[in-house]
């Protein structure tokens, strides 16, 4: 590609965002009511998708600053495309979600796409949400553009970071809109041919084409996992695919959240988004009322059969079994006493289960497996699939560095490990401190800035960097120490072993960094806080044949968190890495074995990825 030619194509694609300026207008109530109406299940309005990644700044319109090369027929190439995601994902519990986009101008060729896309990262593992991205396809210009975005918006947003959901802009240059057609979990309806695309490069004929003046809507129905588009208020019917949502158990989300997305390709394309600030052209409330009626009808007609008149007993049983299932054993006992019912399960058994659950939640899956084998012999043997799932998770946790098998290798005394999170009662606090740590890290730009240069230098001169990195880690650790006493022990152990493991880390990464220089460079220029972890990840999967390239998503996500928590990664320890690789191979073997026994299993495949 030739260098950018200047500003002539600067305004190539403009996205107008009418952001709900709820605070400044008297319509606040109305708007929030409108949002509430959009939710079958009530949730705080603050989590609703309200805008494109504008982060509440008064910049209503923004352009994707790309420069195109006149000779190469700009806009014709997929690589010239860009897509914009909304700041927030579609809330998992909303039931039915809808947004509309008005085509203000079709630009030169009208290659626009409206739809949904996933982040491509395992959201669950990230305590914060990556809330929107502008993708820039011009690889030559990418680095520069990325920087400009970060400088302008990202840092300011990092400051606004609230600890739970941050309005955050990530610029990643590797994904472009048209390429996103091939991405997993991206769904789009294209204006030029009226085709609909689903995670693949070839679209299916779907609806009419659309152009200037049309209002295109996209409705996601999480009740039956379908999606349909509307044109000028007329429903075009279900898109020929089911959406891949696995929202129901937050603990085991394998598929990521979906974001309202708009893709633009040729100069002059302008669209206006409406997330509910203005009345929709399509009568979405009518649609929702139908579903509401359907669900009410379903409840009303629910067959109760013989048990008519035993409502009380049924309800009590329901409450009791819920409490038992989730291991709230004291509450369950109290409830049983009050209602004079019996609890089927033994208390110790409940406690045991609770302990295993906590181990899993704390990421110490290996211990959890061990405990299960001890307490419930035969259970895992009879459920090889469950075992496999657990091992997969264990592997992920190993990469993360949480799992004890790795931790034992990195931390001096295994006992100290035991002494800290060994008792389940501590683990919730452990979780809290995680968040806090992370928050501290992200809150202070100096910290994150501190990390980035360190990494950079580290990749060039291995050993010297450890001294640079060390203070930055301890600074963040000490900042957290003051506010959270419970984490003192933890951060100390971390900082101490990070000194020790640093050379290893440098060594291991340097091996790969030669071959992966390019990729790394990109990561650095991104300036993303978790640069170092990403690099380690790159290195890891280079070694790791088990992991397919896709696991970028999971891997990145996991390691990102690891880094933010300042917990030492397994990548920091040679022995641990080796153990991990070995474990990965075992996992692969286990999968093969299962395949032989039960035939191919799609879920397993997915998990391996």
């Amino acid at each position: 590609m030739l260098p950018p030619t200047g500003s002539s194509y600067r305004e190539s694609a403009i996205l107008n965002c009418h952001v709900s300026t709820a605070a400044q207008s008297g319509q606040t109530k109305e708007i929030s009511h409108a949002f509430e109406m959009l939710w079958l299940v009530q949730r705080p309005v603050s989590q609703a998708v309200v805008s494109w990644p504008d982060c509440g700044l008064p910049w209503i319109r923004f352009s994707t600053p790309r420069s195109l090369v006149p000779d190469s027929g700009h806009g014709k190439n997929h690589k010239d495309a860009a897509s914009v995601r909304a700041t927030h994902p579609i809330p998992a519990a909303c039931g039915i979600y809808y947004f509309e986009v008005k085509i203000v101008s079709k630009g030169r060729d009208g290659y626009m796409g409206i739809g949904l896309s996933a982040q491509g990262v395992n959201m669950n593992r990230l305590p914060w949400l990556l809330v929107g991205s502008i993708t820039v396809s011009d690889t030559c210009n990418g680095a520069q553009t990325a920087h400009s975005f970060i400088n302008t918006y990202k840092l300011s947003e990092v400051r606004r970071h609230t600890g739970q959901v941050c309005d955050f802009l990530l610029v990643s240059e590797e994904v472009s809109w048209k390429e996103q057609r091939w991405d997993k979990h991206s769904y789009g309806y294209h204006g030029d041919d009226g085709h609909s695309f689903c995670s693949s490069g070839t679209g299916q004929p779907y609806g009419p084409t659309f152009t200037t003046g049309d209002v295109i809507g996209c409705c996601v129905n999480l009740i039956n996992n379908t999606c349909f588009y509307t044109k000028n208020g007329i429903s075009l019917g279900h898109a020929p695919y089911d959406l891949c949502f696995t929202y129901f158990y937050p603990q085991c989300i394998l598929q990521p959240n979906l974001y309202p997305t708009v893709g633009l390709q040729t100069p002059g394309e302008i669209v206006d988004a409406n997330f509910g600030q203005q009345p929709f052209v399509f009568d979405i409330e009518d649609y929702m009322s139908e579903w509401r009626a359907k669900i009410h009808g379903m409840i009303a007609r629910f067959p109760i059969g013989e048990r008519l008149g035993e409502w009380q007993a049924v309800l009590q049983n329901m409450v009791s079994s819920y409490l038992v299932h989730h291991g709230y054993c004291a509450t369950a006992t109290a409830f049983a006493r009050a209602t004079e019912t019996m609890i089927q399960e033994d208390q110790t058994s409940i406690k045991n289960r609770q302990r295993i659950q906590k181990l899993v939640l704390a990421g110490r899956v290996g211990e959890a497996i061990e405990a299960t084998q001890q307490l419930y012999p035969g259970l895992l043997e009879h459920n090889p699939n469950l075992l496999f799932m657990l091992k997969c998770r264990q592997f992920v946790e190993m990469v993360n560095g949480t799992d004890s098998e790795v931790c034992c290798l990195t931390i001096r005394s295994p006992k100290s490990q035991d002494s800290y999170p060994g008792s389940p009662s501590l683990s919730p606090r452990h979780g809290a401190s995680n968040t806090h740590l992370h928050t501290g890290g992200a809150d202070s730009p100096t910290c994150s800035n501190g990390v980035t240069p360190t990494n950079k230098s580290k990749s060039h001169s291995g050993a010297g960097s450890s001294s640079v990195k060390y203070p930055s880690v301890s600074s963040s650790a000490s900042s957290s120490t003051s506010s959270s006493p419970s984490s003192v022990n933890y951060s100390e152990s971390n900082s101490s072993d990070s000194t020790k493991s640093q050379p290893h880390s440098a060594n291991s990464t340097q091996e790969t960094s030669d071959s992966e220089m390019e990729i790394e460079a990109e990561h650095y220029t991104n300036g993303v806080v978790e640069g170092s972890s990403a690099r380690i990840m790159n290195g890891t999967y280079k070694h790791e044949e088990i992991l397919q390239p896709d696991d970028n998503s999971i891997g990145n996500g996991v390691t990102d968190e690891g880094c933010n928590n300042n917990r030492q990664l397994c990548g920091g320890n040679q022995a641990a890495t080796e153990r991990m690789i070995q474990f990965g191979r075992e996992l692969q073997a286990l999968n093969e074995q299962l395949c032989r026994e039960y035939g191919k299993n799609a879920t397993h495949k997915k998990m391996l990825q």
Partner: protein
């Protein structure tokens, strides 16, 4: 209650004694003690509930006249009269035969008489019984209108109670079958009286009122125009209907409200681009076509939708993209499904019953969708097995399906592309020809109209159709009593004659016969006349054909032309006739028929000076053909025409403002310096035959 149970069990257990028991009930009606009669009627009521056999027995044993007598007797207690009407209502709930017997006993006047009583409970009982009788298809609805005081009285009863509202509106909606009925109800203030019921707290009342409006507005401009301006509780009626179409409302209500708006729209009271049609009614009706609804609802939805968008191409376009309608309709052909045949007889029966209805509804909707837009037609023909379905639909036993299938085919036949491709591939002409052999008129109209399109010059089906002896069939159609069939017959012949070879033309003339041809030329229907002239024009094209036909039929044709030119006819007809004359003038020998006819030349001269440019042009064509330089004897003809003073007229025409005309006049100048360029104006009539 105990009574009821014992009685029922008695009738069940002792079937052989049924008649005896029934006899006992009837006998008790004649008891001198009114108290005992009342008890007897109550017992009878309990005995007949849900027992069709008992009902039939009682009717046979003559209970009805006695009950009616008791009902009408003012000396009877109100309680007795009420119970009587309840029993009668119960009897009416039985079979259709029961209803017939009741009507034969003059139950309707008796009950209507009963409505004059002030007692509400009695009135309600009478109304309930009347309702049951009137909703039966065997009851002649005219009985409601025989007494002119009935309707006003019913209107006044509307305010009495929710029950009276429900029953009366239900009676109205079942008894409003003709435009006259609509007018009667309208004139008695049905709209003002029923409109408030649309917001009644009772669902049944709302529903019946809505149904009432749907039958009142159907194809009735007067009612529809009034409806749009009606306010219900400060809200426009159309908005009330829109509210009733909301998706959480019962399907029946959504569907009926959509019908109301559809009828109002078709009657011109609501614009087709009104948002309540485009964004509400149309999507609602499309929704009704989806799989999740009952078969009846899908049929009704599809038919109403077809009716709604029939005249409006924009609605057709919108509908074609809504919810994959075109693909969704393909499901209508999948009944009875293979699953239902195996799993459950009841469902198979149900499916079979509705299969015809579903198919005809789908064909109708396809016909409506594809009537104007080429892209939609393409989409339809590309739907799975569509052409095969139409072909098999053409030979189905049910007339309704055949008619709908041929309508669909007609709609699709307006596409040049489809005519050339799928129509030919599937040999649709075969079943079509078969259909034309013996079909009722309505099917015949559609089928012949489709045939017109299939006979167009570029249609590859033209040849095989010609070989199958279609000419005789079409000629017989031209003798039909129905103007529509005559038009289609002659139209098809006209299309057939266009650029046809001599053999076909000769066959047409021979088969049709000059007599019939001239009868058609004096047809009262202008359309028939126009198409006949078109046929003549197509027959008289290319020189050898002209000469041949004129040599055999020249005299009659000249006569007919003279007649038409002399008679009072529209400009178009005269123009067409002059064009025929121009064609004749193009023949080698046929020219002489004009040249020797001074009267005709005078007529041509007259039309050259006519105020209508089209006629001037046609007449000038005629002259220029006569004086064409390169032919034998052109000099003599030019001389003759010059003598007759055509030069002046031509000169005048060259000064005329119309560039089209002056050009042609210039070339026609008898001085013959210019080559004449007359384009053969063949009839390529607008072949998209509107029916």
């Amino acid at each position: 209650c105990v009574n009821y149970v014992t009685n029922v069990s008695v009738t069940f257990v002792l079937m052989q004694e049924v008649t005896a028991t029934s006899r006992h009930y009837v006998d008790r009606l004649f008891d001198p003690d009114p108290q005992k009669v009342l008890q007897g009627v109550i017992d009878m009521k309990n005995a007949v509930i849900g027992n069709n056999k008992q009902k039939a027995n009682l009717i046979v044993l003559g209970a009805v006249p006695r009950l009616l007598y008791l009902l009408q007797q003012s000396s009877s207690s109100l309680e007795l009269r009420t119970e009587c009407s309840v029993v009668l209502g119960s009897l009416a709930m039985g079979t259709e035969n029961n209803i017939k017997s009741l009507v034969d006993c003059h139950i309707i006047p008796a009950l209507l008489q009963g409505l004059l009583c002030p007692d509400l409970i009695f009135i309600e009982a009478c109304l309930r019984c009347l309702r049951t009788v009137f909703i039966s298809p065997v009851t002649p609805v005219q009985l409601l209108y025989t007494d002119s005081t009935v309707i006003p009285h019913l209107m006044s009863l509307l305010s009495r109670s929710q029950r009276t509202q429900e029953y009366i509106t239900q009676i109205f909606s079942h008894c409003c079958k003709t435009p006259e009925h609509q007018t009667v109800l309208f004139n008695h203030g049905a709209i003002q009286n029923i409109a408030p019921l649309l917001i009644s707290p009772s669902y049944k009342v709302r529903m019946q009122a809505l149904k009432c409006f749907s039958v009142l507005a159907y194809e009735n401009t007067q009612v529809s125009m009034t409806l749009v301006n009606v306010l219900v509780d400060g809200e426009l009626l159309s908005q009330v209907f829109v509210r009733m179409m909301q998706r959480d409302q019962p399907i029946e209500m959504q569907l009926t409200a959509a019908k109301c708006l559809t009828y109002m729209c078709r009657a011109g009271a609501i614009r087709t681009d009104d948002s309540c049609i485009v964004l509400k009614t149309l999507p609602c009706l499309v929704r009704m076509c989806s799989k999740e609804h009952l078969l009846e609802e899908r049929v009704e939805g599809a038919e109403t939708l077809a009716y709604l968008m029939e005249p409006d191409v924009e609605l057709q376009r919108i509908a074609s993209t809504t919810d994959h309608l075109v693909a969704m309709l393909a499901d209508y052909f999948k009944y009875p499904s293979s699953v239902s045949a195996i799993t459950d007889i009841k469902r198979l029966d149900h499916d079979l019953k509705h299969a015809h209805e579903l198919r005809q509804a789908a064909f109708k909707l396809y016909a409506s969708l594809g009537s104007n837009d080429e892209d939609i037609r393409k989409k339809i023909t590309e739907t799975e097995n569509m052409m095969d379905r139409i072909v098999s639909g053409l030979s189905e036993s049910s007339i309704k399906v055949r008619l709908a299938a041929v309508r669909c085919l007609h709609s699709l036949s307006r596409s040049v592309q489809q005519l050339r491709t799928s129509f030919h591939d599937h040999a649709v002409w075969k079943p079509l020809m078969k259909l034309l052999q013996n079909a009722p008129d309505e099917v015949l109209v559609m089928a012949s109209s489709t045939l017109c399109n299939l006979l167009l010059e570029f249609s590859p089906s033209k040849e095989p159709i010609l070989e199958s002896g279609v000419i005789e069939l079409l000629c017989s159609l031209t003798q039909s009593d129905s103007p529509a069939l005559r038009v289609n017959g002659i139209w098809a012949l006209m299309n057939m004659a266009f650029q046809a070879d001599q053999k076909v033309k000769g066959e047409i003339v021979r088969c049709l016969g000059t007599e019939q041809l001239f009868r058609l030329l004096s047809d009262p229907d202008t359309n028939v006349l126009m198409k006949t002239l078109g046929l003549l024009r197509n027959l008289l094209s290319t020189r050898p054909h002209i000469d041949q036909i004129m040599s055999s039929h020249g005299k009659q044709i000249m006569q007919a032309v003279t007649l038409i030119l002399e008679a009072e006819h529209s400009i178009e007809v005269k123009e067409q006739t002059l064009c025929i004359l121009a064609n004749i003038a193009d023949g080698n020998t046929a020219k002489e028929l004009i040249m020797t006819n001074d009267d005709m030349l005078q007529k041509i001269k007259y039309y050259m000076g006519h105020s209508n440019v089209k006629l001037q042009l046609a007449a000038t064509f005629c002259i220029s053909n006569l004086i064409w330089n390169e032919e034998d004897g052109s000099q003599e003809r030019q001389d003759k025409l010059r003598e007759m003073g055509f030069v002046d007229i031509l000169h005048k025409l060259t000064q005329a403002s119309d560039p089209n005309l002056s050009d042609s006049s210039l070339t026609a100048a008898p001085h013959g310096a210019f080559g004449l360029l007359i384009e053969e104006t063949l009839v390529s009539e607008n072949w998209t035959n509107e029916v």
